[in-house]
Symmetry: C2
Subunit: 367 residues, 2 copies
Amino acid sequence: MASVLESNSPSLVLAQPLPLDSGQSLADVRIAYETYGKLAADKSNAILIFHALTGDQHVASPHPITGKPGWWSRMVGPGKPIDTARFHVICANVIGGCMGSTGPASAAADGEPYAMRFPVITIRDMVRAQVALLDALGIGQLHAVVGGSMGGMLALSLAKNFPDRAVRVLAIATTSRHSAQNIAFHEVGRQAIMADPNWRGGAYYGHGKGPEKGLAVARMAAHITYLSEAGLTGKFGRRLQDREAKSFGFDADFQVESYLRYQGISFTDRFDANAYLYITRAMDYFDLAEEHGGRLADAFAGTTARFCLVSFDTDWLYPTAESRAVVHALNAVAAPVSFVELSAPYGHDSFLLEVPALDRVVKGFLE
Amino acid sequence: MASVLESNSPSLVLAQPLPLDSGQSLADVRIAYETYGKLAADKSNAILIFHALTGDQHVASPHPITGKPGWWSRMVGPGKPIDTARFHVICANVIGGCMGSTGPASAAADGEPYAMRFPVITIRDMVRAQVALLDALGIGQLHAVVGGSMGGMLALSLAKNFPDRAVRVLAIATTSRHSAQNIAFHEVGRQAIMADPNWRGGAYYGHGKGPEKGLAVARMAAHITYLSEAGLTGKFGRRLQDREAKSFGFDADFQVESYLRYQGISFTDRFDANAYLYITRAMDYFDLAEEHGGRLADAFAGTTARFCLVSFDTDWLYPTAESRAVVHALNAVAAPVSFVELSAPYGHDSFLLEVPALDRVVKGFLE
């Protein structure tokens, strides 16, 4: 299992302890990040991209473990919708993560991994860390902040909590708060990890096998929520895997079983189970309206940014109604906002996949 | 964990070995069942009810382990929609189950539990066993066969494979085949069970703790699919459990987490993990059209029964389109069929809950 990962990304350690929503603070916070494209002399062309739950800073460069292309390399690069010939793109690993930024696998002050001594963090804490990164990099106002899924939550949180830091806010396939069903699916994943005896209360680092099996089950359950029912039917249907007939056994007879098992197992090569616990917890805690008595519009009262919200018609994890709620809140404070529901067959994962209409929306909004 | 359960139900052992779709056969098949209401002298008033995945024969009598009322006691009883003052109701535990019928926890010929030596069975095998039960009870033609969810699959399978055994077929919240998404959720559950080291390759009987944790995770994942997103939001929303503020820890802060954990843990008191593996496998294998080159209508070519299909608008496990496909197939062979999509907020579980419109449909169809 991936735990204390060797990251080849640049990184820096924040000079000040990071205050957290829990009331605690985190010292010596390291943030690993990647940049693409040249920063203009007046620093006016920076775009910050926030990654999703299991993403990382390798948005447009090969992943150091899997060797696969960056997770949004179809969107980010020279001449691409987020054009690195024009923009300076920054993407940092969230705190709580496992790709070089400080997380539960990192060493605490005593030299031992934090494990479950790591403080529970929030989406706003993650944002606060990245704003501190921007400060350290000398970047005041961003041309845009962009994120899909959890990345969209970070984008909305930045817009609310640091309203002068971004001129444009692009939030894709996301929500302003985790629903009961969202929390429920995450809780299944956490329980699967914690049920694995190799989890050892989180203190599995340096003890050989970690909770790979539990993490794989967590990933399998989550992965189903990233895809649409129709997409799964189109991709796999009831087709059998490398066989002519059912085996009348418990092997992966169906292609969809084989695919899910692979998704689960391969995930454990690149992700730390405790990081999965902390990041899902941060997402479940996310509710932008909460500090405003449930009035989402009030959360955006001070904003001066332009917004763009994008949802997908087959996304049942963060359905269109969630984006629409954000749009209505922005309308209520007369913030400039455009909104489009795109048609794509892939469910929530559409934001990562071949959806040319998304390319056009992203490119157009960043003009 | 429930494994070899003490059942207080009547049971009988089939005189002949039961042929299985796998090509194997199963000897000394015991079937535990409950009956309610008096069988008419001409045996014309029998209704067979098939239970769902985690149901059992205690349709209208207290569960022997939990002490809770039967799972459909709101529907079955004197003066109720399935009126036991008028009908003789039979409900049997499916083979592969764990409430007295032969399943993986039962003793094989060598006196040891079958465990994973139990043959993989199908929905049709379960039906075949219950038709043999009817034979043993001397009941030729049923007034009706009734089932919801997996029980609906058994009802449709009986209609196809034993077309002269039921005058009426009532299939609720069900499907004619398991979709890729259905299979995917079941596979998560199976992997959760098999990942538990206490599963021991299925040979956990008599070894103290079984795979309770894995089974609980499986149940949690499945349970989410039984409820609607709106139902979960209505019931729990983001409300906290017995606390004023988030704990910034991994306790069950949210009511929905606490509820799910309880659903998972309590399930292991009354269900055997291997039975869960075998029954989910049977459901995943289910595809009524398969033997007819994918033409569902051909599956019903010989039927003389009257059908009634009921779906629920918030059921995303077996959505209305699945019932409609069955209705279209029945239309294609000019079989008498009525169909209604009911509006109810509870998702798939609506068939078990307070939906007065369902009561009226059931009562009316059985007239």
